[in-house]
């Protein structure tokens, strides 16, 4: 099986081979509504004309993660936008035409399709009522209200070259910095609905623009590049599976802007499943959706696997490291500081660093979780062993106990309450952090959280969040019982 192998590789730390070896096609997608819909359309299109199994890794975090995943061969194809490819990925804003972009991508062994038929550009939007009140029609008009407008922009929009900073420069727009919030995109709609902010960035095909009664401000200085949706694929995939790649190319020019807005609305407003939206659009039979029970069962298995392996790693590596930190003073400080430093790397950033090495899917998620769960175990082992009364160790030596006997008969039992508490912390943190694994396509309870977040759909989020919380509770209970079994009764209550 793949999983025991994976465990072996995680523990040995050897480099992985790209995921292309098995004959399957991996479809990725961005983690917002349109991404999910296009990913599902791609998956079903391939499935309709091919026997090669299709693996869906939908809702994989930011553009950066997807692009890395594609380059490393962890996914074969996903939908992106010309503007994003040239500005954010290739860092070549001068590339305007499809041919130019295609040419640049070929150097990376990537190919793209012709445009699918719609332009999903960045845009700024305000409430219709707010626009009326201040007579706002274009982005230039914002200058008049710049002093007291409150904005919420998505993280990507804040950081991209074609995003807020350059746009503000191009328009000479000076919003008060403390009034510009960074926010998860789908939550920005909630914020503007609630009147918490006045201005947000939107994608022009977003169905929520209409639902929230927003006015899209005209890009009167034509700052934003064109964002034609295209398929981006690995060249190797196109060559290996020409029929499948051709079936995707057949969709070129076939999805117009209104069609895309409608599909987004079906997902965001009517809460239809992505699979159903895609099959309706393609005029095909929707793939039979799994029952919610089997869905939860699958996610529970994925989540347990992520948490279980990282836990095993943190115990097998963390306890010896903690012991080493006690024994070797200088190296010990190094061990403690390193594991603390790892902890300070934001989880998404860590995942992003790990993708070039591990690809996407379970591997980078496991690697990140292993690293994260290390600190509590190392630190608690160190603290637990250090706080043992040194006279007990001295006495054990005087009784002629060998080093290993002192370790297993005296040191570990006496430190067991603290060590176990560390493992417990690692487990519970890891159950929470593992929800982020969905962003790199590792599944688990994070999958409904990510897709629910993109839809701003609380019930969907809860189908991931509640089981995750329950799992944490169960883990807590399991450790209480383990404590009774593993901590010697003589020191259980007193510590």
């Amino acid at each position: 099986m793949i999983r025991p192998l994976l465990l072996g590789f995680v523990l040995s730390g050897s480099l992985p081979v790209a995921a292309q070896a098995a004959d399957k096609i991996v479809v990725g997608s961005k983690a917002f509504t349109e991404g999910f819909v296009l990913g599902e359309i791609a998956a079903q299109t391939i499935e309709a004309g091919s026997r090669v199994p299709v693996e869906r890794k939908l809702g994989m975090g930011s553009t950066g993660i997807l692009f890395e995943a594609l380059k490393s061969g962890a996914i074969d194809v996903y939908a992106d936008y010309t503007g994003t490819l040239s500005e954010a990925m290739l860092k070549r804003p001068d590339l305007k035409s499809i041919d130019d972009i295609q040419h640049a991508l070929l150097n990376l062994d990537l190919v793209i399709s012709a445009p699918l038929g719609f332009n999903d550009t960045y845009a700024l939007a305000v409430k219709e009522s707010f626009a009326e009140k201040h007579a706002l029609h274009s982005i230039s008009d914002l200058a008049r209200v710049a002093a007291d407008i409150k904005a919420a922009f998505s993280y990507e929009f804040m950081d991209r070259k074609d995003g807020y900073p350059r746009m503000a420069e191009a328009y000479g727009l000076h919003l008060a910095p403390q009034r510009v919030n960074r926010m998860e995109h789908s939550l920005a709609f909630q914020a503007i609905d609630d009147g918490a902010v006045d201005l947000i960035d939107v994608n022009s095909t977003d169905a929520k623009i209409e639902k929230s009664n927003l006015r899209v401000l005209k890009d009167d200085r034509r700052f934003f590049p064109v964002y034609q949706a295209v398929w981006v694929a690995r060249k190797a995939f196109a060559e290996r599976h020409p029929r499948e790649w051709r079936s995707l190319l057949a969709l070129e020019g076939s999805i117009n802007e209104q069609a895309m807005i409608n599909m987004n609305a079906q997902a965001d407003i009517q809460k239809m499943s992505y699979a159903k939206i895609a099959s309706q659009y393609l005029g095909s039979e929707a793939p039979r959706s799994q029952s919610w029970q089997s869905g939860i069962l699958l996610r529970t298995r994925e989540h347990l696997w992520l948490v279980g392996v990282s836990l095993l790693f943190s115990v097998l590596v963390g306890i010896p490291l903690g012991l080493a930190a006690v024994r070797f003073h200088a190296a010990g400080q190094g061990i403690l500081i390193t594991s603390a430093l790892i902890q300070t790397v934001p989880s998404l950033a860590l995942l992003c660093f790990l993708i070039p090495v591990f690809g996407v899917g379970t591997k980078p998620a496991l690697a990140a979780l292993c690293l994260y769960s290390l600190l509590p175990v190392v630190l608690n082992t160190f603290t637990g062993v250090r706080s043992i009364d040194p006279r007990h160790l001295e006495n054990a030596r005087a009784f002629g106990l060998k080093r290993s006997q002192i370790l297993f008969r005296i040191v570990l039992p006496l430190a067991s309450p603290t060590v176990l508490a560390g493992i417990k912390t690692a487990t519970i943190v890891s159950i929470g952090t593992a929800t982020l694994a969905a962003l790199v396509g590792a599944g688990g309870y994070g999958a409904p959280i990510v897709s629910g977040l993109s839809l701003n759909d609380v019930p969907t989020i809860l189908t991931g969040a509640i089981p995750a919380a329950l799992m944490a509770l169960v883990a807590y209970g399991v450790f209480e019982v383990l404590g009774l079994a593993l901590i010697p009764a003589g020191i259980r209550k007193r510590s």
Binding site: R391, A398, F399, Q405, L414, P488, G490, I491
Partner: protein, 248 residues
């Protein structure tokens, strides 16, 4: 018989023990006494084989420490650490049997030996299932003596066995300890800073000061024929209360 012969030990070029000798004849109880910093703890650790020394010999029944492996040596010296030093995570029974178990004794052999020792120290049957924190100070001490005796060592070494106990309990325990020593018939070296305890328990006393033996002998010899002024001042300092006449 336990013999320490001409032991020298320096630590970072500073002499800690200088030419220390003492002999405990078979079956006798000997007290090593001195204030803190006198070197008695260092001598104790040397006797236990835990730290190296520069010159001299430690011998049990004329066999030198250095001819044994640490494990063999540990089984020849029964050690009772300060205040018993029981491992808090083990029951009395497991404290007593730990070393025998690690040496591969059978369960029945262990059980028989524990039972034998329990009789010798007169400990109630129900005490051994308790953890140290559930025992009284006296019970802990008897369990610690059982543990030291488990491998039937030639010599027993006690380090401040009653340092943390209050004076009233102390007196009772000293009496118990004395009768246990008599029943066991062991060669005993007792390390203490308490002259009263040394006099009560031991046949011979060795007074250590600044890493040297100041005087060895019975209490009467120390009292009536002190080797130097330090011996007298040490004895006087430990006579706690003034005479009734002095406070009248």
């Amino acid at each position: 018989m336990l013999a320490l012969q001409n032991i020298h030990k320096t630590f970072e070029a500073r002499p800690v023990l200088t030419d220390v000798s003492l002999t405990v004849p078979k079956g006798a109880t000997h007290a090593l006494i001195g204030s803190s910093g006198s070197g008695k703890t260092t001598l104790l650790r040397i006797t236990l084989g835990m730290i190296p020394f520069d010159k001299g010999y430690v011998k049990i029944n004329d066999q030198a420490l250095l001819s044994f492996s640490p494990v063999e040596w540990a089984d020849r010296i029964g050690y009772v650490p300060q205040d018993g030093g029981l491992f808090p995570h083990l029951t009395g029974y497991h404290n007593v049997s730990l070393i025998a178990k690690l040496r591969g004794w059978s369960k029945s052999r262990i059980a028989a030996r524990v039972e034998e020792l329990r009789g010798l120290v007169e400990l109630g049957e129900d005490i051994l299932v308790r953890f140290p924190h559930e025992m009284s100070g006296g019970q802990q001490q008897r369990v610690a003596i059982m543990r030291a005796e488990m491998m039937d060592p030639a010599v027993m070494l006690l380090d401040e066995p009653m340092a943390a106990l209050d004076p009233l309990i102390r007196r009772t325990l000293q009496q118990e300890l004395k009768s246990i020593f008599q029943r066991l018939g062991k060669t005993v070296l007792l390390v203490t800073h308490d002259l009263g305890e040394a006099v009560f328990l031991a046949d011979q006393i060795t007074l250590l000061h600044e890493g040297r033996v100041v005087q060895s002998g019975t209490y009467a010899e120390l009292l009536h024929h002190p080797a130097d002024a330090f011996v007298t001042s040490f004895i006087n300092a430990q006579r706690m209360l003034p005479d009734a006449a002095a406070v009248a």
